[in-house]
Amino acid sequence: MVLVSLCRNVMSAVPRTAIRMSVAAQDIVAAAAVSSSLVAAAAPPFDVIRTPAQAESFLADHDAFLFDCDGVLWRGEDGLLPRTVETLEMLERLGKRCVFVTNNAAKSRAAYVKRFAGLGLERVTLDQVVPSSFVAARWLAQNRPEIKKVFVIGASGLVDELQEAGIEVLTARSSAFSFPSSNPDSNEASTSMAELGKAVASEPEVGAVVVGHDTGFDFKALTVGLQPRVAEAATLCTQAATPCAQAATLCTRAATRCVQALCLASLFLERDDMGARRLASPRLPLQPCPHQPATPRLQPATLRIQPTSRPTPMRTMSWPATAAPATAASSPPSPQPLGAPLTRSAASRRRTSPPIWSQPTGSTPCNLRHVESAAWGSATAHYRGLREPTLLAPRCERYALGTSRRAIQVGRSTAGRPGQSRPSCAFQNQAHLHGWRSAGH
């Protein structure tokens, strides 16, 4: 199926984090001196730590360290980087608080603790690890306690965290969505559409779709996640939520790829002339799959949405740059018959509170990295936000709100540019830090 191939191409188009060889920081300054065109770089507006005095001063100035994992402590599956264990031991000896934050939703906290132990960091405890899988589960449990069951596109770590938070999990691999294929030679995806629709209809209590990195992401997951009722549930969940949590819930890590695939597919499904402009999105690095027919054979009978007078914009996917419309919370969409075609009124209602994958064009174009960093930010910010809700929340929300580029400007103007008169402590405001410490750290 075309959609399947699109998804797979989307999934494989972005390889694992590009790993490059280590570059000594000294090279920056040296290279800058050589390159006369980069005058500004000759005096980089940040401290390159090259001397023992600089290192000591840096350590003395900071009381807590948030570590990213891959690319900082280790590289891929290669094991720890040189002297990492000793460095962390030194930090511990100096009384520094270390927290390991990652936007990897594929693993649970427990899996990370195990991984740390396997790498020789046996003393890392559960509360020192904050993967985005945990953040998503925790957010759902705390902010949408009425949601007892979710559909997950994601890896086992995300499922584990959700289950630990007391949320029942359905995936495309659940027995509810397993059907014996009546004709093994047939195109499986198109023949199972109706069955998937029925299966979704029999799960009315699914309140959200949680998307994480999923190497097994396939047509079935896409189809179920796109069923109108499920999609509406997800929209409800995210639009009523704070932007932070929205990012954490729906966009954990490479989930953005899935979301893009969902965006794309949902646009297909809303169109009558499917296929005519199916590769029209310039932002998706799609390659035609050589094994698939050129014309789509998918007939989305159960998903068809009646065409409206305003055609669905198809130019680029976009990410909301402003807060979700207030109408989303005040007038939630009424339930539709499950698996039934959306009527015209249902379609227009959807436009009043559009799901994230059909934002009108004109807002900021979505960029994988933007969404990823928003999710990433939310993971860490949420962790700290638990301790400092009033101080941090506005910044975090603004950060996660727009595409992160725009929000970074907000962050900058709030925090000041590096090199300018900013206090050299871990957190800009000592009062923050004090409050954080007195809260049990």
């Binding site: 920081a25 920056i28 860490t380 910044r395 540019r417």
Partner: protein, 68 residues
């Protein structure tokens, strides 16, 4: 915040108002940083945030402390 990517890790530190330490064992390279520092950068909106500190790798902190 200790991280290897300008547009995620360092961006987060900016958003939180905390200081940041960039390492070069992951995604970001010296070239990336030079690009960000150079005059050829795109519009202001496109700029990635800069770290407040940089070090070659996390272990280098220990190595430097041991020299004392």
């Amino acid at each position: 915040m200790v991280g290897d990517r300008l547009d995620t890790d360092i961006a987060l530190a900016h958003a939180m108002g905390s200081s940041s330490l960039l390492v070069f064992t992951g995604v970001a390279t010296a070239d990336d940083l030079l690009t960000e520092l150079g005059p050829s950068r795109a519009s202001h909106d496109e700029r990635a945030p800069l770290p407040t500190h940089a070090v070659s790798h996390v272990g280098h902190l220990l190595e430097l402390c041991e020299q004392n």
